[in-house]
């Protein structure tokens, strides 16, 4: 009896998934079998996991494994042939592309926003202030109109694509103080800032939720609309790379991400679709 109930529950679950994606790009996975190994950018993880789930619900024989590590890991591992698809939150450099013969697909647009704890009263910074905060020359919230307390800086590891974009476009290649705490992913940055009332850091705009408050940069709050209309300058694409042109299951996964259903996942997870 229980078994039957479970079967029904399962069919119902499948039905839901199918109903959402009726007559969909998932059809391409029909009859396929195999594993797609994905690694790299941590901003991509929520979308990749959701895509993996929908694909496995449609055809349990197609499995997508998702590893994080950062954009550097993605590009390196796909280049070395250790994974099939490497995610990166920045465009691969000329050197990387030529060395590994990478082909990139951009499937979402994202921004990188400065965030503080919701308890913090500072909600706006100028580029200059931001540079000084991250360089360590401004080290107290008082100097920014906040409470009299030291600023806790949070930074990402040097392999992060989010960091590369942030340093280039928001800090204008300004220095980051070496005393900053280093966290390993967008998710970790969000939870660290959410828990630290005196912390400041930066995350992918798609990851910003109620646990952290975005800080306006030169008067523009980093949100999906402001990135979309171009008024918030620190924007970037989310890329997936393959060695050579994508083939087989990898190509199907990338096509799926670019299909209307895939783009819907992208938007559900807080990013901007490219189509």
């Amino acid at each position: 009896m229980k078994r039957i109930v479970f079967c029904f529950a399962f069919i119902a679950a499948l039905g839901c998934c199918n109903a959402v994606f009726a007559g969909s790009a998932l059809d391409a996975f029909k009859g396929q079998e195999g594993v797609i190994k994905v690694a790299g950018g941590t901003a991509h993880i929520p979308v990749m996991k959701e895509a993996a789930k929908c694909i496995a619900r449609f055809n349990p024989k197609v499995i997508v494994t998702v590893a994080g590590g950062g954009s550097g890991v993605g590009i390196r591992q796909v280049g070395e042939g250790l994974v099939d698809i490497g995610d990166a939150g920045r465009s691969a450099t000329e050197e990387e592309i030529s060395r590994y013969n990478l082909v990139q697909v951009k499937w979402a647009v994202d921004g990188v926003g400065v965030v503080v704890s919701p308890k913090n009263s500072v909600k706006s910074l100028s580029t200059e202030q931001l540079q000084q905060v991250f360089a360590g020359t401004i080290s107290n919230w008082k100097e920014l109109g906040g409470e009299d307390h030291a600023i806790d800086l949070y930074d990402r590891d040097s392999a992060s694509g989010t960091r590369a974009v942030f340093v280039k476009k928001a800090l204008k290649k300004g220095a980051v103080n070496g005393g900053a705490n280093v966290v390993v992913s967008n998710g970790a940055m969000k939870t660290a800032i959410g828990g630290d009332p005196y912390g400041i850091g930066y995350v992918s705009v798609g990851h910003i939720d109620s646990t952290v408050t975005p800080v306006a940069l030169d008067g523009v709050v980093p949100t999906i609309p402001s990135v979309q209309d171009g008024s918030y300058p620190v924007a970037r694409g989310l890329y997936s790379s393959t060695r050579g042109k994508a083939t087989g299951l990898s190509a199907l996964l990338l096509n799926y991400l670019l299909s209307p259903e895939g783009q819907k996942i992208v938007e559900e997870k807080g990013f901007i679709g490219v189509k």
Binding site: F10, A52, I63, T65, A67, E80, V183
Partner: protein
């Protein structure tokens, strides 16, 4: 004055015990409190029906079943790989090694015992990449690599258990079989080792527990954040310790955080069972860094 010192020592000791016990109790209480109200089925299987996951291998998302399965299988493979070299090296140290060979192998096993697991992981990773560059068909990060590296990590544990088990055998028993015409090897495998079978099994289980809790080695050699429905030696996998590490910083809401606590309890129980079993089986402490005689007293 002396009385005072004595009294202080007593007070200090009991205070230390109090602090120690409180810290660990609070650790457990916190874990128990935080998993209260967590539904076990959804913790393990997420929204996948358990029967389908167990019997039909349907991929499980948002549950720790794949991680549990990954940990159990990688640890079993690791210990399987390590058991023969470990036990044989132990036999070598206890029965065959001459003074110089004993000194060298003993030193190396000690170094291996103390080697940080991330260094072992780094070595495993580098070996994997080297091999991959030499033979492009060689597997990338996968469970087999993790198991090999983990096996290497727990090797000294097996060596030491075997060695001390053999050393502790009374001379009468040791001489009986050879007196009846058995060779040295026959004596070891048919008399001495069976006599210490419990200790050996204890050592193997202890090694399993050590392998199950290690995160650094598998993180560098093949574990991933999400690999639902994977059951292959040559594929990437999920594992409980890495799941906990991942959840500690990636949780999106309190429900996901609670999954982290649930996974912690699961791993704690798993390791606790291994350790308890090992201690029950072993008749004496096999917990030391090396088999020096003064520790056995």
């Amino acid at each position: 004055m002396k009385r005072c010192a004595e009294l202080l020592l007593v007070i200090f000791s009991w205070l230390a015990l109090l602090v120690f016990a409180t810290s660990f109790l609070s650790l457990f209480v916190v874990l128990l409190l935080r998993v209260r109200g967590l539904d076990a089925v959804s913790l393990f299987f997420g929204d996948t029906p358990p029967v389908d996951a167990l019997l039909h291998g349907l991929p499980v998302f948002d549950g720790i079943y794949p991680a549990l399965l990954g940990t159990v299988s990688v640890v079993m493979v690791a210990v399987l790989c390590a058991v023969l070299p470990g036990v044989f090296t132990g036999i070598y140290l206890a029965e065959f090694a001459g003074p110089w060979a004993h000194r060298i192998v003993n030193l190396l096993v000690d170094v291996l015992t103390g080697l940080p697991s991330i260094v072992v992981g780094l070595a495993g990773f580098s070996f994997m990449v080297l091999l991959h560059n030499l033979f492009p068909g060689a597997p990338g990060p996968c469970m087999a690599w993790s198991a090999l590296a983990l096996g290497f990590l727990v090797l000294p544990c097996l060596v030491r258990t075997t060695e001390t088990a053999l050393q502790g055998i009374p001379a009468e028993l040791r001489r009986t079989a050879p007196a009846l015409g058995a060779t040295k090897v026959q004596n070891i495998f048919f008399v001495l080792l069976p006599f210490r079978a419990k200790d050996l099994l204890g050592g193997v289980i202890l090694a399993t527990g050590r392998a199950a809790e290690d995160t650094a080695v598998i993180m560098l050699t093949g574990v991933v954040a999400s690999a639902p429905g994977m059951h292959s030696l040559f594929k990437q996998f999920e594992a409980l310790p890495f799941y906990i590490y991942y959840m500690s910083s990636q949780y999106r809401d309190l429900a996901e955080l609670q999954y982290g606590f649930g996974a912690s309890i699961t791993l704690l129980l798993l390791c606790g069972v291994f350790f308890a079993a090992a201690f029950l089986l072993q008749s004496y402490v096999s917990f030391r860094f090396r088999g020096s005689s003064w520790l056995q007293k």
